[in-house]
């Protein structure tokens, strides 16, 4: 009774083709899921199989227990409700976001065993080796009568999950918002899907990548100017990935104004692995951007994206096709630069977003914020970073540019630069095998703060590196403990560059440079095609 065929035979009285009635789903799950199964409840960065997660939390614990959850995101309360009900034995995941505090308590209380905290690519890879789901609960926008699925703009993780499950004798169960006669396009073919049900309401999608330009500060504008001159223009970066924060949103909004004024159009930022960030609209309109491949979509960007087939990857129906696994691979192997932000940086340049009592996980940043050691194709930016990093006499090779852009102090004047990461405390309290480091110091090539840019890849010794980090750490205790002479020496050698060294007058760092200063400006720039979700309509 363990093959897919045998299990599905047990619910044949409930199946009409692939379809089951909405009110029978709990019964279906009770019958199909067996103790010890590896189970994936599709939770992406944005799209959530939320109704199936609710049904799972109503299953009979006598039938459905000892589960091994293998899924990228644990964002919903229901994901942990089934842990609290004692139905889950083991967990492998990538990102927990809003559930970080509760997850930490469950782990500390011994309610669940942790396999590992993965990056997206690692977890997807393990789906095809030893963590293949036996049952996958996924979300799609539409199904047709045969059970073909249309995932639409938010395809995200679905192809990776379904391919691994369906071809290893596993069972794929899909919740859909709508059942139609003819799909706009087929994203997942019916013979990879085994059970389909109409959800009582559309699945939840989180607008995770919308940054209101009104909240971008002048310090972020200054750091954006430093990044554009000291990093993007300096290395001629054309293929890149941006993090999610306001620092990189500022850079996106400086491209059609500040970067354009420096003559950098067509020379930088032409090809992207990026979600459809609303703050990228002005740069797209200015013709800066040639291509964007997306991990997922973004709520409100559907019409804008559909109007730009010359930039985005679209299906024959005209709407976005995203794919997290492929975009992560693109971010790792095809991009010359990753730039993001973080909460803490230590003296070796290791950075972490971990804080005590919260297990947030990694998501995909470490895949992109790491040198791709298997890369072999060259590009000018990659060769330049490699040449600057090379020890004398070493085999020539390239290197990925990995940059962190951080203010020296965070909210409530907490220093970003620290002697010891909180990740060590979290390792001890949660009994992890390693401190959860987001970007390792030896992968980090550049550090940008309001004090300037540190070209860490130009340092020859660990001592130089440490002084280069202290040299941009401002008035934090780490920064105040700098060896002033060593830092001046690094500045003379171009390893540390202050704004003035880059031709930037600090007083010029004004919000006036931002190509959009509000969500409403973004709507205007999009020709009315961007339709921001309600919580961002503040005018």
């Amino acid at each position: 009774m363990n093959t897919r065929k045998e299990r599905l035979a047990g619910i044949s009285h409930l199946l009409n083709g692939h379809h089951v009635a909405t009110d029978r789903m709990v019964e279906v799950l009770d019958a199909l899921i067996r103790p010890g199964d590896r189970l994936c409840v599709e939770g992406n960065n944005q799209k959530q199989a939320d109704w199936l997660a609710e049904c799972l939390a109503k299953t009979n614990p006598d039938l459905v227990h000892s589960l091994h959850l293998v899924q990228s995101v644990l964002a919903l309360p229901e994901h942990l409700d089934i842990v609290e009900r004692g139905q889950v034995e083991r967990l492998d995941f990538s990102f927990s976001g809003p559930q970080a505090g509760r997850l930490a308590r469950l782990l500390e209380g011994g309610k669940i065993k942790l396999g590992a905290i993965h990056t997206y690519l690692e977890l997807f890879a393990r789906y095809f080796v030893d963590l293949t789901p036996k049952v996958a609960l996924v979300a799609a926008q539409m199904a047709d009568r045969e059970g073909n699925l249309y995932t639409g703009p938010n395809t995200e993780d679905t192809p990776a999950i379904v391919e691994a499950t369906a071809f290893r004798d596993g069972i794929v169960i899909a919740q859909v918002n709508q059942i139609v006669d003819k799909l706009p396009r087929v994203d997942i073919p019916a013979d990879w899907v085994h059970v389909v049900a109409l959800a009582p309401r559309p699945h939840y999608v989180e607008p995770l990548f919308t940054r209101d330009p009104a909240l971008i500060t002048e310090v972020q504008v200054l750091m954006g100017m430093i990044a554009i001159r000291g990093l993007y223009a300096e290395y001629g970066v054309t293929r890149l990935n941006h993090g999610i924060g306001f620092d990189t949103a500022a850079i996106e909004l400086l491209l059609p104004t500040y970067a354009e004024s420096l003559g950098l159009k067509d020379k930088i930022c032409t090809h992207w692995a990026l979600n459809p960030h609303p703050t990228l609209i002005p740069a797209i309109e200015a013709g800066f951007v040639k291509s964007v491949h997306c991990f997922g979509s973004e709520v409100g960007m559907e019409d804008y994206v559909a109007a730009h087939p010359e930039v985005f990857f679209l299906g024959p129906d005209g709407s976005l096709r995203s794919n997290r696994a492929f975009s992560q691979a693109a971010g790792h192997y095809a991009c010359d630069l990753f730039i993001g932000s973080t909460l803490q940086v230590d003296l070796q340049g290791n950075s972490s977003t971990a804080t005590r009592g919260r297990i947030t996980g990694f998501g995909g940043a470490p895949n992109m914020g790491a040198d791709a050691r298997g890369r072999r194709h060259a590009s000018p930016a990659w060769l330049r970073a490699g040449a600057e990093s090379a020890a004398p006499g070493a085999m020539p090779r390239g290197r990925k540019l990995v940059a962190q852009t951080v203010e020296t102090f965070r909210e409530h004047n907490a220093p970003t630069f620290v002697e010891r990461l909180d990740a060590w405390d979290l390792q001890a309290s949660a009994n992890l095998e390693l401190p959860p480091v987001m970007i390792y110091g030896d992968d980090l090539t550049h550090l940008i703060t309001e004090e300037g840019i540190a070209h860490l890849c130009r340092c020859h010794t660990p001592q130089e590196r440490e002084q280069a980090i202290r040299g941009v750490a401002g008035f934090t205790p780490v920064g105040l403990a700098r060896d002033a002479r060593a830092v001046e020496n690094l500045r003379d050698r171009g390893i540390i560059q202050r704004p003035a060294d880059l031709g930037i007058a600090v007083s010029d760092a004004s919000r006036d440079w931002l190509a959009a200063r509000s969500i409403k400006d973004l709507v205007k720039a999009s020709g009315g095609r961007y339709k921001p979700p309600m919580q961002f309509r503040n005018w």
């Binding site: 500060t217 020296t408 004047n413 309001e450 008035f475 105040l480 600090v506």
Partner: protein, 111 residues
């Protein structure tokens, strides 16, 4: 809430200090969360003076470090900076001071 005054040596500001009552006083910045406002005025002494009102207690050492670096890097002798702070980071303080300083120079050159 905390209030303090600090006087530091600095190179004389490059413009002649305007007469009292001149309209070159410059107000810069916005009071909002994590922001601050600065009023720049001339005085007849050689030092640079800071009068700081801040909502964040216990950061006096950081203030001294930020203001000392500013006094060393910007010729401000003869100026008073009155600052009303709502929990800004040192990055914001340094940026606003540089902007206020430059605004004062521009206003002075028009006067």
């Amino acid at each position: 809430m905390e209030y303090f005054e600090l006087s530091l040596p600095s190179q004389a500001v490059t413009l002649a200090a305007p007469a009292p009552g001149n309209t070159t006083d410059v107000l810069c910045g916005v009071v909002a969360s994590g922001n601050l406002e600065i009023l720049v005025e001339a005085h007849s002494g050689a030092d640079v003076r800071f009068m700081v009102e801040t909502t964040a207690d216990g950061f006096r050492e950081t203030w001294d470090a930020v203001l000392t670096q500013f006094a060393g890097s910007h010729a401000s002798g003869g100026l008073t900076f009155t600052m009303n702070d709502v929990g800004s980071t040192p990055a914001v303080v340094a940026l606003r001071l540089a902007q206020a300083h430059e605004s004062w120079l521009r206003a002075g050159s028009r006067a």
